[in-house]
Amino acid sequence: MILLIQYTLLFASVLLLVALGGCFSEHSGVINIGLEGIMVFGALGGALVMRYLPGGTSAVVIVCLCVCAAMLAGMIYSLLLAVAAVNFKADQTLVGTAMNLLGTAAATVIVKALNTAANPDNPSATIQYVNERKAFLMFDNLEFSWLMPLTLVLLILAYTVLYKTRFGLRLQACGEHPQAAASVGINVYKMRYAGVMTSGLLGGLGGLAYITAGVSEWKFENGVAGFGFLALAVMIFGGWKPFRIALAALLFGFFRSLSNVYTGFDILNQLNLPGTVYNMMPYIISLIVLILFSKNSAAPKAEGIPYDQGSR
């Protein structure tokens, strides 16, 4: 049971971080399909820091550096989307898809190159961080990561920023009715950049949270197994609102964690279902949720539409 809670919280925090990222991007009016790719880059940033830090570095430093590196990597990568979608008015879905393909591929190439350079007999795309990962754990024997309380703080912060500050009001105006925002002197381009970069920041951190969730090495050719897309489903299910996204993330996290821990439950064992069924669960749930909820969705009205000053 404790295992189930652990994993639910682990996966929920990953989904929450990434979905909050998506939430900022979409509220600014840019659809961010590229969250998957952003997560991979965030994960890469964090993993590289863990790999290259000297052995005796203190836990606090490791965590702080990893978090910063992941956020920075995700943010820089998200600039691709910002430039393409905001300046060049590209199709946001296409750019996002390209970012996903590029993310995993580029990370694999980079890690392989680094591995081969360090040891010619090791052409794998895997980074190991057995010891460094321990820095993230709050307790010795339990899988409670420091990233969980950080996620909680970021959740509250996200809510406050979106609904209580000038920035949030303007950001949402740009996603709902950019012409209205522009007519009162708001720079829509800047706000959309801010939205996309915030999503890069949170998405990157989500990537780090994902590769430190219960494992001590990461094969970068696997990417992040569709977690970016799951996060999008979480965001839609959560109605683009932070606290509802949090609840949605818990639900999805629960189903995702079942596949890790179902062997520990007698009832589930008696059902005698193959493990793959549990693995499929979150994806099937997200499919169902999207079918049921995307109809009366509260998506920002202007999302996906490139803003053009001239158009009426």
Partner: protein, 518 residues
């Protein structure tokens, strides 16, 4: 500059746009136009669609830079490079299509862009609300600060736009065709609000092509025609006829000329039609029965929102019927597809030309052929016959005088509202339908275009076809129709003869105060 005040020439005016010329490729949108807005006056800017009013306002807001001419604000020469500059100079505008964020509250919309914040960037909404309440009291603009824009009436949305300007302490207020979307009562209120604002010292520029409103509310009126400045007159010293002649360049006949005709056989027969409302989950049209015959114009009159929209949806096939039967030319079409109805002789000039009338990002020619592209003349083996489409479009453009920048290749979105409507009218009438359903066909159009469309409707009737007109305009109903059916809360409550009825009598039925046994 500031000390001259009212008597002296320099600062008598809040806004002076002197000899403004703005050219676009192939067209001079503004040709040496001068507009002078006195402080504290309501000044109307009158002109047909495409006369250059919008261009002139875009110049004032810095969206376009004029090739010639200068702008003075309070007597001082200024350069306006973008809307922020205009805002800094105290110029605010209520756009025809409101610039409001639908899912925000009234308060959020008003403070957007000028939010009062604490040092950390947190919104100080209590403070803003207080100011908003004071302003709305002072100017008699009642709004609910916490209501969402999507939940409130168009009238309240407009008051929100006005408060937005007042909150920014703008002194020069521009209203771009503010009455197009309002009900008669709301128009009445708006007029009073504008007068109050002028009395408080605000200078108001009122862009319109509704002559009666201009006469009622404005002090002076400047007229533009085809990009040129025609003149400025005091409304006290002029008449509606003179204004319309200035605007159109000839005398306009407001009365629709038509010969009496005896209706022929029944074209459309509707029995017990009931249509559900999408928005309110009830029946918007209840058990409606009537007939339309050859050679007559039947008008459905009523106040907006009494089921007319759903009524037309049901007739045209946009919405399925809950019950009832529609017979078109002797054939039951209650369940047939929209295209089937169209081929059987039903044409539909829709209420919302952007939503159901045009594909805005298609070219004019593609829009014109939209109802018949599948005919062998325009399609061969699944491929469009571009040449034929082009020549067909050119024929209609010529015949119906549809004006546009690049002829058949013009993107519909870039055309003026009047010409968009003409394109729809051309497409629907040229099909030579046995039944023409025209829903508010003159909405938002200037007098020249209205006269033209009324003539087309009458011509279609004189050709022995049936016309069903749905209109909210009392004058239009009385002028154009041969028979009036009044709709109230989804039911037809009266059948009136336009020759014998009066607006007052119609009003009683429209308001539900009276009903006939049908």
């Amino acid at each position: 500059m500031e000390n001259g005040q009212r008597e002296q020439g320099g600062s008598e005016y809040a806004v002076e746009m002197l000899h403004i010329t703005k050219r676009f490729p192939g067209i001079i949108a503004n040709d040496d136009i001068t507009l002078q807005l006195r402080k504290g006056e309501i000044h109307a800017l009158l002109g047909e669609n495409g006369a250059g009013k919008s261009t002139l306002m875009s110049v004032l807001f810095g969206l376009y830079q004029p090739e010639e001419g200068e702008i003075r604000i309070n007597g001082k020469k200024v350069h306006i490079n973008d809307p922020n500059d205009a805002n800094d100079l105290g110029i605010g505008m209520v756009h025809q299509h409101f610039k409001l964020v639908e899912c925000f509250t009234v308060l959020d919309n008003i403070i957007l862009g000028v939010e009062p914040v604490s040092k950390l960037g947190f919104l100080k909404k209590a403070e803003a609300r207080q100011r908003l309440i004071e302003l709305s009291r002072k100017y008699g603009l009642s709004v609910d600060p916490d209501a969402r824009i999507s939940d409130i009436t168009v009238g309240m949305q407009q008051r929100t736009e006005i408060l937005k300007m007042l909150y920014r302490e703008n002194d020069i207020l521009i209203f771009d065709e503010p009455t197009a979307v309002l009900t008669p009562q709301e128009i009445e209120e708006l007029m009073q609000i504008m007068k109050n604002l002028a009395a408080e010292g605000k200078s108001i520029l009122f862009i319109s092509h509704k002559l009666a409103e201009i006469m009622a509310v404005a002090d002076r009126c400047s007229v533009l025609r085809k990009g040129k400045y025609i003149g400025t007159v005091n409304t006290k010293d002029t008449t509606v006829d003179e204004l319309s002649a200035m605007m159109v360049g000839r005398n306009v006949n407001f009365h629709v000329e038509k010969e009496p005709r005896t209706p022929g056989k029944v074209i459309l027969k509707v029995e017990g039609m009931t249509v559900a409302s999408r928005m309110h989950k009830n029946n918007a049209v209840k058990n409606v029965s009537f007939e339309v015959r050859e050679g007559e114009i039947v008008c459905i009159a009523g106040i907006d929102g009494n089921g007319q929209t759903e009524f037309v949806y049901g007739l045209s096939g946009l919405e399925p019927l809950v019950s009832g039967k529609i017979t078109l030319g002797g054939k039951d079409v209650s369940k047939t597809a929209i295209r089937e109805r169209s081929i059987l002789g039903m044409s539909h000039i829709p209420e919302d030309r952007h939503k159901h009338g045009l594909v805005l990002d298609y070219t004019l020619e593609d829009n014109i052929v939209l109802q018949r592209y599948f005919e062998p003349d325009y399609t061969k083996a699944g491929f469009l016959r571009r040449k034929n489409i082009r020549s067909y479009a050119e024929k209609l453009i010529e015949q119906y005088d549809i004006r546009s920048g690049q002829g058949p290749a013009t993107i519909a979105r870039s055309m003026s509202g009047g010409n968009q409507q003409k394109a729809i009218v051309a497409r629907e009438i040229d099909k030579d339908p046995s039944l023409l359903i025209a829903v508010q066909p003159t909405r938002g159009l200037d007098v020249g275009a209205i006269e033209y469309i009324h003539k087309q409707l009458v011509a279609h009737r004189d050709a022995g076809k049936a016309v069903l007109l749905v209109s909210l305009e009392m004058d239009e109903v009385l002028d154009v129709s041969d028979r009036i059916l009044v709709m109230y809360e989804g039911e037809i409550v009266a059948e009136l003869d336009p020759k014998t009825t009066t607006p007052e009598e119609m009003g009683l039925y429209m308001a539900g105060a009276k009903r006939k046994e049908m």
